[in-house]
Symmetry: D2
Subunit: 301 residues, 4 copies
C-alpha cells in the first residue's frame, strides 16, 4: 500500500481545486494529475505537472505567434516528419514532472539518463521507510545463458523459495539494525548519513523527476525495450500510457519510428536490397557476424 490516508487526503485536496489558466491544457493529463499509478509492490508514478501538448510541438517548430495549429491532421503530419528526420528540438518544448517511488537499484539505472532534473528523498536528512521490493514468484528468474546481462527461465521450487527467504530476511534484519543504530533511545544514535549504508538496494526511495519530451522518449525507447530489466521496464511502460494520453500524435510517431522501428546498418540494407532482387542471402554471405544476423532475421521476420 504505497499511500497513507494522509497522503491520499492531500492528493484528493489538490485534485479538488481546479484553477483557470490560459496555458495549453490536456484533459487526458488533467485526469492523471497527482494520482498514483502503482508499479511493482510498493512503487508508483504520479504526474505532478506538465507543460505543452501536441500543438505546442508544432507551434515551436513553426516559431509561430498564435496557437500555430492549422488542423489536427496537419499537426500529426508535421510531428511525424519531425520524428522521422530527427528534428528533436520541438519535442523538447514539452516538459513533464513526475513523482516516482522506486527501488534503489532501479533508481541507479534511471539516474544514468542525465538530461533531467531530479530531487531525491535524502537519507542524510530523513529516515527511510521500511519498504523493500520483493519480486513476485513469477519474476524470479535464472541468469540467462545467452545474454550476459539478462535473465532466463523462472526459478522453481526450493531454489525460488530460498531466494525469497533471503531477500525478505536480509531486508528485515538490515532495517531492524538501521533503526537500532539511529535510535536515540538510551544512546546517542548513529548519524543517518552513515546508518543508511547498511540498507540493501531493494529498499524504496522516491524522487521528483522532470524531463522534456525528447529526452523522455529517449529514456522510454531504452527502458520500455524488451532488453531492459523487468523492474525498470514496468515503470517505463506505465509512463508510456501516460504520454499517450498527453501528446497522442507525438506518442504515435514515437511508437512507429522508435519503439517499433529498427536501425539497420549499411550492410543490412545491402542484404535487404539483394533479397528484394531475389538473391538468397545467408549469414555466411551477408557480411554480418552471427549476432548481427540473428538480430537482422528478427527484423525482417
Amino acid at each position: 500500500m504505497p499511500l497513507s490516508p494522509e497522503q491520499t487526503a492531500e492528493i484528493e485536496e489538490l485534485r479538488s481545486t481546479p484553477q483557470p489558466t490560459l496555458r495549453a491544457t490536456v484533459p487526458g493529463m488533467e485526469a492523471h494529475l497527482y494520482k498514483a499509478h502503482d508499479v511493482l509492490d510498493h512503487g508508483f508514478v504520479r504526474v505532478i505537472d506538465y507543460m505543452g501538448d501536441d500543438a505546442a510541438i508544432c507551434q515551436a517548430a513553426r516559431v509561430s505567434y498564435g496557437k500555430g495549429t492549422k488542423s489536427v491532421q496537419n499537426d500529426t503530419g508535421l510531428i511525424r516528419y519531425l520524428m522521422r528526420h530527427w528534428h528533436s528540438t520541438p519535442f523538447e518544448m514539452c516538459e513533464i514532472k513526475l513523482h516516482v517511488k522506486l527501488p534503489v537499484f532501479v533508481a541507479r539505472q534511471w539516474i544514468r539518463h542525465r538530461t533531467a532534473n531530479v530531487n531525491e528523498y535524502s537519507a542524510r536528512y530523513s529516515i527511510l521507510d521500511r519498504e523493500f521490493y520483493i519480486p513476485a514468484p513469477e519474476h524470479i528468474n535464472a541468469q540467462s545463458t545467452v545474454n550476459n546481462q539478462g535473465r532466463g527461465g523462472l526459478l522453481e521450487g526450493e531454489e525460488a523459495a530460498r531466494v525469497l527467504e533471503y531477500l525478505k530476511a536480509d531486508s528485515t534484519r538490515a532495517y531492524d539494525h538501521y533503526e537500532e543504530m539511529i535510535s536515540q533511545d538510551g544512546q546517542d544514535g548513529l548519524a543517518r548519513e552513515l546508518a543508511r549504508m547498511n540498507l540493501p538496494a531493494n529498499i524504496y526511495t522516491q524522487w521528483y523527476w522532470k524531463v522534456d519530451l525528447h529526452n523522455l522518449f529517449h529514456f522510454l525507447r531504452l527502458r520500455a525495450d524488451a532488453h531492459a530489466q523487468y523492474e525498470i521496464r514496468v515503470y517505463a511502460e506505465e509512463i508510456c500510457k501516460i504520454v499517450a494520453d498527453w501528446v497522442p500524435a507525438a506518442y504515435g510517431a514515437f511508437e512507429d519510428y522508435r519503439l517499433g522501428g529498427a536501425n539497420l546498418s549499411a550492410t543490412a540494407i545491402d542484404c535487404i536490397r539483394r533479397i528484394v532482387k531475389g538473391e538468397v542471402v545467408t549469414q555466411e554471405t551477408s557480411g554480418m557476424s552471427k549476432g548481427e544476423w540473428r538480430e537482422f532475421e528478427g527484423v525482417i521476420g
Copy 2:
C-alpha cells in the same frame, strides 16, 4: 511595431479562452501570458508557458506528496536557505517558455547558455523580415578605454550621425539585395540558405526558448549585470520583472544572494577581517592586484 494586426488577433484569441487546470497556477504569470513586452526597437519577450511556482520549489525540496506548503513564511525561509547553500536542484523544478524576438548579434551571445531548449526561426526554410536593430542615439557609445570589452562615453555630432547612417544604409542595401537574390521573378532565385549570408548581425531573428529556473537565474545573473552588453541586458531586465511576478520568493532570494551579492576571495575575506579589527589595509598590503583591489573597494564601499 513588432506585431501585426493578425498576430495581435491570434494573441487575443489565446488570451480569451481560459481552461480549468489542476496544476500549480500563478495569477501574476497568467496576466503576462502571450503578451509581447517590447524590447529595443523591434524586439519583444513573450511568456508562452510556465511550470511551477514558489511552492513547487519547496515541494520538490521536501519530495512531498501534497502541496508541500506549511506556510508562505516557511517556504520563503526554505527558499532562501536553498539559494544560500547552492542547492540548485529544487529551482530546476520550475520551467518557463518564452518567445523572443532579438537581433542576431544578441542571439549569438544568448545561445552560449547551453542548458536550455531552443527553436529558432529558420532562414534556410523561411524568408526573414526586413527588421534591423538601429541603436537609439543615446546608446551609440565609444569603445571603453578601461575595459576592452565594454563601451565608454556617448558618440556625438557628426561621428554619431555617420554611424547611424552606415547602419541604416548598409542594412537596407543588404536586405534589398537579399530580396533581389531570392526573387523568382524572371530568374531562378538563389537558395535561401545561401542568400541569408548577406544579412548583417543587426537583423532580427526570433525563437522559442525554454529553460528551468536555476539556469534562468544563472543567465540573468550574467546578463542583467552592469558589465553585460546593453542590448542583451534590456532583455534580461525585462525577464527579471516577469520572474518577480512568477516566483516572488525565489526572485527575492536571487536578488539578495546573487544579483546584489558578491563573491569574495580568501584574500578579500582576510582583508575584511583585518579592516574589521581596525587595521588600515591598502592595495599594496592587501595581497590583491590593482584590478582586484578596485573591485574590492567597489564591494565594501
Copy 3:
C-alpha cells in the same frame, strides 16, 4: 590563405617538440596535430588535442585496470556491439579539441549542438579580420523546388554573376564601414561590441571546440548527411577523415551503423516483411505517406 607566416611558424614550433607521455597516443592523430586542413575559401579545421583511442573505449566499457585490450579483433567486435546497441557512454570516454575557422552562418548552425565546449573569438574584445565566404561558382544554387530547406540546380549566367557581385560588394562595404566606425583616428571610435552588428553572416569567425566522440558522431551523422547545407557539410567531411585516423574501429562502426545505415519505422519493417514474402507493395498499400514512401524506396533501392 588562412594562415599568416607568423601563425605557420607558431604551428611549426609546436610540431617540432615531442614530449614523452604515458597516455594513450595515436600516431595517425599525432600527424594531424596543429596542422590546418583547409575548408571553403578561408576556413580550416585543426586538431589541437585528443584523449583516448579505440582501446580506451573498450577499457571504459570493461572498467578495466590495464589497457583492457585482449586483441584488436576483440576490440573491434566489442566496439561494433556497443555502437549497434546504442551503448553510448564508452564513446564519451574519447575527447577531441579542434580549432575551427568558419563563416558566422555556419557557426550559428554548428552551435546548436549543445553538448560541447566552445571558446569563440570575441568581437566585443577584438577586431575581426576582413575575411568573407564567397561561394565558388559551382556552389551558387537555386532554391530547391521540392525541399523547402535545400538547394536545387546551379544558377547561371547573369544571375550567378549578380549574386557574386552583391556578396562581394556588400561584404567589402560593410567591412569598410566597420573599420571606419571603430577607427580612433580623429574621432572617438564606436565600441567594437556595437560596430560588429554591421557585419554580414558570411564573415569568418573562429573557435576552439571540444567534444566527446559520442556527441561528435551525433554531429557528424547530421552534418555529413546529404541533406546538410553544403557549407557545414564540408567541415563535417573533413572531420570524418580525421576521426577515421584517430579511432579507426569506432569510425568503421559509425560508418556502417549510422552514416550508411537507416532508421526504419514499424510500418516500413512490415512492408519489408511483406515484400520478402513475395507480396507486391505500393505506396497505396504501404500505409505510408508519399514522402515516407519516397524515402523508403531510397532505402530498399
Copy 4:
C-alpha cells in the same frame, strides 16, 4: 588492499612504455598516471588520462594559433581574471579521466553531478567483489543535533562497537547470500541483475569518470567543503591534490576564489559597509536570520 598483483602488473606495464606526443603534457600529471591513490578502506582514485594544462586554458581564452603563452606570469594573471569573473568556458578546455573505486552510497551522491561521462562496473553483467566500506572507529559519529544532514560527536564504547558489528555482520551475510543465490552449483542460479538487490550500500563499485576542469571545480567546491559527508570529501581532497599538480595556476585561483572564498548577500555586504564605517551591527539590526548571521560571523571572523 585495493589492487591484486595482476592489476598492479597491468599498471606497471602501462607506466613503463612512454610514447612521444606533440600534445600538451604535464610532468606532474605523468607521475600520477595509472597509480592508485588509496581512499577509505578499499577505495582509490587513479588518473587514466588528461587533456590540457594551464597554458591550454589561456590558449582557448585567446583563441590563439600557437601555444598562446606570453609568459607564465601573464597566464596566471589571465587565469585569475577568468576565475574571478566567472568566465568558465576556458576551464572547460581541460579534461581529466579518472578510475574510481568507491562505496555505492558515495557513488549515489557523486552521480548527481550530471555534466560528466561515466562508465560504471555493471552488476547486471558481472559479479561484484566482496568488499565493503566499514568506517574506522574515528569516523563513527552521532547524528548532529544542529544540522539535520550532518554528523556530531564520536560514538563510543558499546554503541560504537554494536554499529561496527552490525555493519560487518550484515555485509558478510548479504554477500554470502548473494553468492549462494547466483551460484550455478547444483541449481539454476538467480540472475545477477536480481541478486544484486540484496547488497547493501556500503559495497564497493567502480567507474571511469571523465569531466572537464570547470565542472570538476564545481564538484570539488561542493564535495571538498566542510559540510560534505566525510566519505565523499576524502575523494574530493585526493582529487584536489592531483589537480594542483596538473594545472597549478588554475588550482591556485580556485583555492582563492572558490574553496577559500565566500558568497555574500546584498544584506551581508551592507552590514560590512556599516561595520567598516564604525557602526556596531548585531543580528537584530543586520536584517539577517539567525542562521545567516551565524554564517556571516564565520566569514568575517
